[in-house]
Symmetry: D2
Subunit: 125 residues, 4 copies
């Protein structure tokens, strides 16, 4: 009897390498769209980074993940002095492995682009 | 010069007690709609509960918050064996204080209703 | 046999008026935390406003809801020229009715506070 | 002077084809993690599908997108009779184009896997 992974991989019309790229994209979309909007200040930034990393690791084919939230860590002056997480604050790195194919993707705000770019930094087979 | 809280409270056409009820609702909506969809299994459930609690505490007027995710904590059998957080899995309690008014709200799946009910369990002035 | 609403209302330790305030808060939390992060430019802003309104109306006790997204509606200059919805862009009004109690809540970026304030603008019984 | 796309593409350590696969994954992650949790019944299902499609189209490199929400469209019996969108209800197809490379990805609940599988259905160069 086939495993679920054997069944799933038959759905893919592409190589392990190509699949790893697709999976890397999924994880980047998850990091961004699941967590943007979360209230954050310096009291919870570490807990949030850790929960984001741990939830991405739960998804299939994640070898490692590193999340850093870029936060202006000044003292809060009043009850309204916190922010909602935006994409521009996220610095992320995810390494995907599908069999022998490996892909590293990163996301970070690019000053020159004025955009939180998600990109593939390494592909190896 | 007025503080931001003095300015904000002038926007409210209601008492501290009424405002505490409104704030309690906001927090419940945040717990649900920010985090539902997050990948979860037994490896990250504690980190996720902690991050949810800490992010709610960042919002204004939260005195205390307790989140429990109800998860079937069996061993994972394969890479697809995890779930996305649903409202039915969330057991939450938030205590709000606005000056001397205090409100406790809770959310939990109600078997009889077949619905993850958010409700006000205590109002005190 | 009791209806679900009869069962649910017994969970509440407060009046209809107080419950309407709590429900108004839930809806505001939903508007913000479900939709912040959504990609938006002038091509989809109306569809997004409409979908936000319609999804809030699905929730219990909503009499009416109005959402306006404040968007700089300039022409896109390239593929990166769009934004993710933030709380500061949302102008929302929700009217809740629980039996004879009615509450109107609003959310909008307050320049003086530098904060997207959610507040109760009207309570009537 | 370089365009933003020229700057962005230099960040990628891979071909157009590989980049299209990564972009397809991002869109699938967005569909899922931005919108799961949204309240839905038959009154708003069309508006939600349309808003999901339109917001994905705003993202870079999307040639076409089709979203179908699988909903049990029975009459509502009471105020609690609606659901929150889950991944299992989403049937999505996204076609990405990066220069001459084109990738089609799909997501749909797979009965045999018991999992809402995102997969690459076509790669063409």
């Amino acid at each position: 009897m086939d495993t679920r992974e054997e069944k799933a991989s038959r759905m893919f019309g592409c190589s392990d390498n190509e699949r790893a790229l697709f999976e890397a994209g999924i994880k980047m979309g998850t990091v961004y769209h699941q967590f943007v909007g979360t209230p954050v200040d310096r009291t919870n930034v570490k807990a949030l980074e850790k929960a984001m990393e741990a939830s991405i690791k739960v998804q299939p084919f994640v070898e490692s993940v590193k999340i850093k939230i870029i936060l202006d860590e000044k003292e809060r002056s009043d009850t309204y002095d916190y922010v909602s997480l935006t994409g521009d604050m996220i610095d992320a790195m995810v390494k995907i492995r599908v069999n022998r194919a490996s892909v590293t993707a990163e996301m970070r705000y690019d000053e020159e682009l004025g955009y939180p770019l998600m990109y593939v930094s390494e592909v190896s087979l």
